[in-house]
Symmetry: C2
Subunit: 139 residues, 2 copies
Amino acid sequence: MSDHPAQFTIGRLAKAADVNIDTVRFYERQGLLQPAPRTAGGYRLYGTADAQRLQFIRRAKTLGFSLEDIAELLRLTEDGHDRGKIKAIAQKRVADLESRIRELEKMRSVLAHHAGHCSGHGEVSGCPIIQALLDEPAA
Amino acid sequence: MSDHPAQFTIGRLAKAADVNIDTVRFYERQGLLQPAPRTAGGYRLYGTADAQRLQFIRRAKTLGFSLEDIAELLRLTEDGHDRGKIKAIAQKRVADLESRIRELEKMRSVLAHHAGHCSGHGEVSGCPIIQALLDEPAA
DNA sequence: TTAAAGCCTGGAGTCTACTCCAGGGTCAAT
DNA sequence: ATTGACCCTGGAGTAGACTCCAGGCTTTAA
């Protein structure tokens, strides 16, 4: 039986998840992690479930969820909720991502178009990029 | 000859450009707008060139430029610079947009994949979205 | 003349997600 | 017992781009 510690302090937890130690305390204050039990001296003690929860948070963040979204996901995983809400949150996030992507693509194409018409030398006045910013109707 | 006012106060300028009046003052503090001349009583006075400059800022923002970028673009349009730097800034911005778009698309595809495997009903435990967040290797 | 609308300043507050700090206790090893 | 690594708290600071406020002038129109 491997005998890795069932309990560890905040520093180890932070290191294992590769987050700043202050971030762990911050997540606790934000309600993303439960308040940990303490040693007699006041040190927080964590277990493997906490490490898993912290990984959950990290992964959700890489998918672009805000901490508020993540807090809701975590809440939904606890009580006896069903998958409907989870799926709804995920789909809303997908939709948000798609609309943001469309926005950025529009910016990109407009700007690339202007840049493509700029020779890159000569005086500024008349530069197509600047002209576009001066003259085009406001978006 | 149309006789629209050559000079106007901050409120009119803000309204014309559809920005908050405090935003105009903020841009002045940030150096994006020149300090306006004042009336005897201390009111800022603006002309059409200022309105154009404010539009420039708004349009650049819709293309995703930061205020810092915009400040630089404005500086470059003033002195006798050439188009090289302008084009370089625009191209860097295009590259930034592209990398951001790729990031978001990756998030979108991963999340859409998980959501596509979630039935949307039944208990949370076993939901593919949650499972993915719990089990997948950290990104 | 007087009231309303508009403007002034300096500074604080908002949002997100941390990150850092000082001053001081705790824990493990020597 | 002492050292050094580790942890505690409360609070402040960061970035970006505003936005709002109080208290108090100025301008304009009736």
